[in-house]
Symmetry: C2
Subunit: 259 residues, 2 copies
């Protein structure tokens, strides 16, 4: 494998830092190539602004056409272009981050906002009577896989179906489906480490063992079976799931996973 | 009312900028006090790091105890302390932002990550047999209300129950429930403007009228009826919704809204 690890924690000597280091050493020992985007160490610019688009920034600034213009001209900033190159190099992308306020830290959201430019991650492909662009099962990153490795402060019971925070798979759906599956990545079930604020040495040994097992099976793990957009499950252009295709008992986000 | 508007768009002359300006003028004309945190104009620092906590940053950096130490000592950075002061001044908080990748822009997530410090927005109240801290219906911001005003590129059908993106109320649940309701804010139904990338002049007039109506009824609009954590609906400490309390047909996030 060629694995890109996108890492988002300010402290190298943290639980997240340790899990990232473990991923690097485990994958390299297994003969895989690994590159790391350590966003804090890179002092990653988190905020989209006109400077991202140089002379292609419209005035007033409209983000979508500016992003398209700069991408098409090969004029995105060097930091963004480098991340796009890493994504195209990789066949597997690991995201390591702490869940802060039920989603990713701002620095990682800023990586998404800037790297996932128009004509790279969205605005790809034609819109006609049978296709609504290449996304959700197609797109620039099709054929690659992604996995989230997330640390969570609270206990697992809070993130179950009746748990007060809602089930983890639904909290992560906007990332899994909306960010990763959208430009074509296949998404593996996440590695979630609960109780991260209270972890002890022996807890970490257990977690390290579990994470190692997941890392060594990245090539064989079944992805989440999200429905593809352009292959008959959805009305076009309303993109409503066709009647009769739903799995009984499923609602909301669950409708968009095959039975 | 005393309204704080937290605004997150890089271009003043944008749809989001126009909606923000409309909120200011409409509320002021109705006799309300308004303050604005225009995050791009403020050059808001989006990324949590050790500098946020000064001499209270632990080494290695652990975000939670560092945040607690700096908050308790009144030693958070001036930008963060100013935002906390505005939140305590306000009785109503409006968030104006474009939905980017199914959630808020990084600069606004960074406002949450930094302003919602330990002992201010989380880590508040005792944990015992009947209470699991003051959150989800209690907390520092209890008695205040919040509303999201969000622009969305796609059409509404994509964000309905069978729509490919999932229903808007579930996409926004991690923000509504996990970020706003958590520290005590009552959350009003959002104002969502679809098709934002293709809006015309007459569309904007319709949107401006609808937003004005929402702004002038902020004091009387019923909040989303999220369940309170410590008042009998949940087992403690598992925080699982008690059996029999669910509204028939509801699952996942919907379980945490009263019937």
């Amino acid at each position: 494998m060629k694995t890109l690890i996108v890492h988002a924690h300010p402290e190298p000597h943290s639980l997240n830092g340790s899990l990232k280091d473990l991923a690097v050493s485990t994958l390299e020992a297994a003969g895989h190539e690994v590159r790391v985007s350590d966003l804090y160490a890179m002092n990653w610019k988190a905020v989209v602004d006109a400077a991202d688009f140089g002379e292609h920034a419209t005035s007033p600034l409209r983000v979508v056409p500016s992003s398209a213009g700069a991408y098409d001209a090969g004029a995105l900033t060097l930091d963004v272009a480098a991340e796009q190159e890493k994504l195209l190099w990789a066949d597997t992308v690991v995201f390591q981050f702490p869940m802060w306020w039920y989603t990713m830290p701002a620095i990682l959201k800023g990586w998404v906002d800037r790297v996932f430019s128009f004509h790279f991650a969205y605005g790809v492909g034609v819109h006609d009577e049978t296709r609504y662009g290449e996304r959700f099962g197609e797109g620039t990153l099709q054929g690659r896989r992604a996995i989230l490795s997330v640390t969570v402060g609270g206990p697992e019971s809070h993130y179950t179906d009746r748990g007060i925070n809602g089930p983890i798979q639904d909290l992560l759906f906007p990332i899994h489906h909306g960010i990763l599956y959208y430009p074509g990545l296949e998404v593996l079930p996440p590695f979630v480490l609960y109780g991260a604020d209270k972890i002890t040495g022996s807890d970490f040994e257990d977690a390290a063992k579990a994470w190692t097992e997941r890392l060594l099976s990245l090539e064989t793990t079944e992805p989440i079976a999200f429905r593809r957009q352009n292959f008959g499950d959805y009305e076009i252009p309303s993109l409503r799931l066709k009647e009769g295709l739903e799995v009984p008992g499923r609602k909301s986000f669950g409708l968009h996973v095959r039975g």
